[in-house]
């Protein structure tokens, strides 16, 4: 691996270049590519930003600006299991903050952080649109509705 271009794993770098190649001629392609990279690597490391910037021929500062603007793009890896607790209005008035507190207490991390073993990360999310089931928490693609703080440990146990 050349020391200049990346600390990325060569396989990933190859895939990254493929992704860029597919979309680079579309107008406004930076966002489209960043979405795919976030999914591929799980976050958008500096090395990847540099490669994207070079290939799209736009300054890396601009790429960095886009990555840090949107909450779905992250500069750090997120946990294997992404826990989301909806703090949208409907969930909030039904006590989702207490569900979040309970998760934070059990995992000993705060919202926005990842556990040391890389297993869980917690996010206080915006409305996930399942207001009929408020309060709602999600673990990756699984949705748990009508939550109560007492149910948290049982749910987390499923992901160990």
């Amino acid at each position: 691996m050349c020391k200049d271009c990346s600390g990325l794993n060569p396989d990933i770098e190859k895939k990254l270049l493929e992704i860029i190649e597919i979309d680079k001629d579309k107008k406004g392609s930076a966002m489209i590519i960043l979405h795919k990279v976030q999914e591929l690597i799980g976050y958008i490391p500096f090395e990847a930003q540099k490669i994207i910037a070079e290939n799209l021929n736009i300054p890396m500062a601009q790429i960095y600006g886009i990555v840090t603007f949107y909450s779905r793009f992250t500069l750090e890896p997120v946990g294997k299991y992404k826990i989301g607790v909806c703090l949208g209005t409907a969930c909030y008035v039904k006590g989702s903050d207490k569900v979040l507190e309970k998760i934070e207490e059990i995992l000993k991390i705060k919202a926005g952080q990842t556990t040391d073993d890389g297993k869980f990360s917690i996010d206080a999310t915006r409305c996930v649109g399942a207001c009929g089931l408020a309060p709602v928490m999600t673990v990756n693609e699984d949705v748990y509705g009508k939550m109560e703080p007492d149910k948290v440990s049982e749910i987390l146990a499923k992901y160990h």
């Binding site: 406004g28 489209i32 960043l34 886009i66 603007f69 409907a90 649109g129 399942a130 009929g132």
Partner: protein
């Protein structure tokens, strides 16, 4: 499809195919019901059908039925029997008794549909649906969202055919103008005028864009339309393209809506395959193509200039207007930008005419509005009512009232940009102007109901936390001003409020409204202003008496055990994490306030409801 005749031929064919279905079942595949496992229910039905050799009953996966709190929902036709909260274990009973023997399973039906004489009424007769008027949602929960032929069987793409073959661009714009349709995203700007401005802008390249970046907390109208009836939006965007002279469109959808994105993509691909998007549509020489662009979690991108920046692949920051998108939009070209629900109305307007649409609703707010009912209300879900319906009708007749016999306190419309409507104004008709007049706004359609247990200062704080978090940071009034307001609110709810704080909030609010760059900043103070307007006494109690009347603000309340209700069971004592509760078995327990951390664990545990925040 090469001509309009091809469309009508397919329409006749598809219509008779779907009408001649002897029996079919609908299973909701919206986000709410999918979260409550409706996919497993579909699989279970398929499995049961296979085992029982049933091959002539179609299982249709639809979009949202609206009554999300009762999901998963299954409807069995031709009777229209309404099964709510269906579990996978219930499926075999429904198949055996209803599908095979023809007898509805009474104990699994939504209880309102089972009459005293044992007869069953169809789901359309349920109170929740009876008062509704479905235009934008006409196909949601009715057709299979992933099957274009079902849409075509419901007169789909006939509005596009009509516009392309028998109307001039000006006539299309004129029809939309005369219909009185106003933007459903919140602003309420007349849609026809927007189209006309874009039409008149000179350029050889123009764009049509759809705002599906539904970011207001508690709002899920647009998502439901995209999930349940994506073709109506595609058809409308093509009509808009024809009207203004554009051949390219973008739908900007939140990445948080994976089901909507997937169905929209399927729908676009199908439309292309059928020749309803692409080149030379219906042989008229009109070309139109559509692409999806994903948002990435920034509330401000719901603002039109920010959304355009984001479609262009940049940071989603707003810019000053003018120039408006109608003059300078996507990639600097004239762009017409409407919200999902606005588009969903268009095909009906073109087909049925401006007068038909104008006859629904009120004089200045024509048509219907979709609301996402949430919060402290029995029938949480999606409703569509004619403009001018009162809040009382929506909350009590359609929404089924407030749970647990609690009292209605206020409703919040317009999310973080709107305001609250207090109980004494519950008979206000819901339309753009009436809501504006009482200091709230229509907004995109989130309608959050609050009861006596909700503290209005806390609610205002909640919305402001949201805006502070989502402020893009470009202009100081929003970036700094909302932050200062939040600090004051935090102080008030923590019991450190000072006399003069309310006035300070009002002054800051006034300045932010006058000077913020975009609509989101300008409306950010609204929740605070409207709660001060209608619930000033609550602010005063927090500041002057250090008391939270609703018992929500933790630092201002104490946990109290009622002498009369406590039976001395000791459960609270065992659950208390701070060992703050003491008492002998079978005698009233007491809480040591110095130790109590107000976590509320004892309140949740007490079987006699003897403990409460006071």
């Amino acid at each position: 499809m090469k001509s309009v005749q091809d469309l009508y031929d397919l329409y006749e064919k598809a219509k008779s195919k779907f009408q001649n279905r002897k029996r079919h079942i609908l299973v909701c595949g919206g986000t709410g019901c999918t979260s409550s496992n409706s996919q497993k229910i579909i699989e279970k039905f398929e499995e049961e059908f296979k085992q029982n050799n049933i091959s002539d009953v179609e299982i249709v996966k639809t979009g949202c039925f609206g009554l999300c709190a009762l999901g998963p929902i299954v409807i069995v036709y031709p009777e229209g029997s309404f099964y709510s909260m269906v579990k996978t274990n219930d499926v075999s009973q429904i198949v055996q008794e209803h599908i095979i023997d023809g007898k509805p399973v009474l104990n699994l039906l939504y209880k309102e549909t089972v009459l005293e004489d044992g007869n069953v009424k169809p789901f359309s007769e349920v109170n929740f649906y009876k008062k509704q008027h479905r235009t934008a949602l006409r196909n949601c929960g009715v057709i299979a969202a992933e099957n274009i032929e079902e849409y075509i069987a419901r007169e789909g793409y006939q509005a596009l055919a009509k516009a392309l073959t028998s109307m001039k661009c000006e006539e299309v714009i004129d029809t939309v103008k005369k219909s009185g349709l106003r933007g459903r995203g919140g602003g309420g700007f007349p849609t026809g005028l927007k189209w006309e401005f874009t039409y008149k802008s000179q350029s050889d390249k123009k764009f049509v864009a759809c705002n599906a970046d539904e970011g207001d907390p508690g709002a899920f109208m647009d998502r439901s339309v995209l999930e349940g009836d994506p073709h109506s939006v595609i058809e409308a965007m093509a009509i808009a393209g024809y009207a203004i002279g554009a051949d390219m469109g973008y739908v900007y959808v939140r990445a948080e809506y994976p089901i909507a994105v997937k169905r929209l993509q399927i729908a676009i691909d199908q439309a292309k395959k059928y020749g309803l998007l692409g080149e030379n549509i219906f042989g008229t020489g009109f070309n139109f193509d559509l692409e999806i662009r994903l948002g990435a979690g920034a509330f401000v991108c719901g603002e039109e200039t920010a959304l355009i920046n984001s479609i262009e692949g940049n940071r989603g920051e707003p810019r000053p207007r003018p120039p408006f998108p109608a003059v300078k939009g996507i990639f600097g070209q004239p762009t017409v930008l409407n919200n999902v629900e606005t588009y969903a109305n268009i095909p009906q307007i073109i087909l049925n005419g401006a007068d038909w649409f104008n006859s629904i609703g009120t004089e200045k707010s024509a048509g219907t509005k979709v609301f996402a009912l949430g919060g402290k209300i029995n029938n949480v879900g999606l409703v569509e009512v004619p403009m001018g319906t009162t809040l009382r009708e929506v909350i009590y007749e359609i929404g089924g009232g407030i749970p647990n016999g609690k009292k209605f306190k206020a409703a919040q419309t317009g999310g973080p940009s709107g305001g609250c409507i207090p109980a004494h104004l519950i008979d206000t008709p819901i339309d753009f102007d009436s809501l504006g007049a009482i200091g709230s706004m229509m907004g995109s359609g989130g309608l959050i109901v609050m009861d006596e247990d909700n503290c209005m200062v806390n609610i205002a704080k909640f919305f402001l936390e949201f805006t502070v978090d989502e402020s893009c940071g470009k202009c100081p009034p929003c970036r700094i001003g909302t932050k200062r307001m939040l600090e004051i609110l935090n102080r008030i709810t923590d019991g450190r409020g000072k006399p003069g704080d309310i006035e300070k909030l009002e002054e800051l609010a006034k300045n932010i409204k006058a000077s913020a760059l975009c609509g989101l900043g300008q409306t950010a103070p609204n929740p605070v202003l409207s709660t001060i307007k209608y619930f000033r006494d609550e602010y005063e109690s927090h500041i002057n008496e250090k008391r939270c009347p609703a018992g929500t603000c933790k630092k201002l309340v104490n946990v109290n055990i009622s002498n009369e209700k406590c039976k001395g069971c000791g459960l609270c004592k065992t659950v208390c994490p701070a060992s703050a509760i003491d008492g002998e078995k079978r005698s009233t327990h007491v809480i040591d306030r110095d130790k109590c951390i107000k976590c509320g664990a004892c309140i949740e545990k007490c079987p006699f409801k003897a403990i409460a925040f006071k």
